[in-house]
Assembly symmetry: C2
Homo-oligomer: 329 residues x 2
């Protein structure tokens, strides 16, 4: 079982276009300070999954449109994603990402904040190169939605009274908005009818939410080794996820529920208690139930593509949606 | 003597348009969390000098153009300025700004980073509302230049070997780029010939640099009370400014130069030594020399406006340039 299966088969069709995206990302992320430049280069190259650029390029193919401006927009989307990760890792005080040391483990906070800001700026400039004000507007909205989602995560941390609606709104902002906005941008640049733009957006929204639910399940289920970050970190940070909400909702042993609630609230909790709470979540039905919910989102994502013309790229987009859940196996 | 004279006389002509800018800034800076909203509202309202919006509105008037889109762009410029202050205060660990507590003195770092990001996003969305891709491009470039200037400030801190060119490049990024880009945006939206766009940009660049040089002089010359922040903070933080470069350049007592150099390098320096170093700078001719340099920039700024049609607004822009230096009295 691997948490990160190889996406190369799915993205093979757009491999050349992806190389174009990468070149633009690298050029935009260049900085003038040798020490910092080497690290930034590592981060940019560390081979994220390039999930959002691939999705955008597959849409361009599904719409049978010249990908040139979509390649530029995909570079903007990836730069925005990387900028977000730089600030995230600092906020979470994470020491490693995908096994590599984070920027904040090597530089002072001010440098990391400014580098994130610089990458946001380069993302905005790259988006402006599409020459579309609608793209710029969507781009600004994505960044506002992401930060709103993350602020919600901070303000709702350790709150056992929050609802599934709160959770969904939060993960929409944190994860799905960049998927949704990227797909919308790709469709806008392909100049397809508004109905198809909205279908692309719906597909990517549901895919993003499914993706985040699976991430939240993996955070509880996997070991630190497979995740490349500490297991159970959401619970330890007080970030309330879908499995936890299901668990404290109803139908579970009151003592176990009390333990998980105490772990969410945090404060004077021992490592052994955190481990015990994670054990309760792992052994119950809530991970399965959460994956079922993710599958419902995936099915809705796939159905949204019905109004697109049939194509190999459309099939691949559907396979990508399946992958969002299947990577949990 | 006051460090912050009243600008109302200069900006009287654009007072109504400024109210429109303020309304857009406030609407864009609204956030959903009551606690945070109150503080953000204070920051937005704290009555910065609205220097850049005023400059943009005066340009619209000098170009005799309907200010509607310039008002929107001015709100974007001010939001970008405020977002930058939010991150700056966190980076500098400043407790107060204009006498009021900073966000970072009240909230955790993550919240402050994300709030700054949110305000950047709202600035970008506001700029997109101008419907001009050239404006969006300039906007992205401003943000990249600002962060580049600030990164330079960090990487060049405590470096006694830097040159006046290094200093100028740094303050161009940190301060003048937002003046320059804002003026360029205003002129672009007024659809004037390229030559006049570049004149507006040149005026604002020189004004911004003069403004920063005067700030750097005041940081050494004024007391903590008049500044509303600790006096001599640049030297204490290792930020090398023009008066320091003049002082360590040549012509001063070698022991005094050695003291100032040691204070710049920092490390094991007592408060008494910092005070002594600041005393040396105050009592020498370098503050006067720096102000003379600022005056040269002001004269160049005023001359750049020669190709604009004569108008009251043009006269006011020239008076604003004079004010950049005269506020030191």
């Amino acid at each position: 079982m691997s948490v990160k299966p190889d996406l190369r088969d799915l993205f093979g069709a757009v491999r050349d276009d992806l190389a174009g995206v990468d070149a633009q990302v690298r050029a935009a992320a260049e900085v003038d300070y040798p020490l910092l430049a080497a690290v930034v280069n590592d981060i940019v190259g560390a081979g994220g999954k390039r999930m959002r650029p691939s999705l955008m390029l597959l849409l361009a193919r599904a719409f049978d449109h010249d990908p040139e401006r979509v390649i530029t927009a995909a570079a903007a989307s990836e730069l925005l994603h990387i900028a977000g990760l730089v600030h995230d890792d600092l906020i979470d005080q994470a020491d490693t990402r995908r096994g590599a040391p984070t920027l904040n483990s090597m530089f002072n906070d001010g440098t990391v904040i400014l580098l994130g800001d610089y990458l946001f700026a380069q993302a905005a400039r790259t988006a402006a190169r599409t020459g579309s004000t609608r793209v710029m507007d969507i781009f600004g909205r994505i960044l506002a939605e992401i930060t709103d989602g993350q602020l919600r995560e901070i303000f709702k941390a350790h709150d056992v009274e929050q609802t599934i609606d709160d959770y969904e709104r939060r993960i929409y902002g944190k994860t799905a908005s960049l998927f949704a906005g990227s797909a919308e941008i790709a469709a806008v640049l392909c100049e397809v009818p508004e109905e198809q733009i909205q279908a692309a957006r719906q597909y990517a929204t549901d895919l993003g939410i499914a993706f985040q639910i699976v991430d939240d399940v993996l955070d509880i289920r996997e070991t630190s080794e497979t995740l490349g970050k500490p297991a159970g970190s959401d619970l330890r940070q007080g970030t309330v996820t879908l499995p936890m909400l299901y668990f404290i909702g109803n139908g579970h042993d009151p003592d176990s529920v009390a333990l998980v609630r105490r772990a969410i609230v945090g404060g004077d909790i021992s490592e052994a208690e955190y481990d015990a709470a994670i054990g309760e979540l792992r052994e119950s039905d809530v991970l399965r139930k959460s994956l079922d919910e993710a599958i419902r989102y995936v099915e809705r994502a796939k159905a949204a593509l019905d109004i697109l013309p049939p194509s190999e790229a459309r099939d691949t987009l559907r396979a990508l949606a399946d992958f969002a859940v299947e990577r949990h196996r």
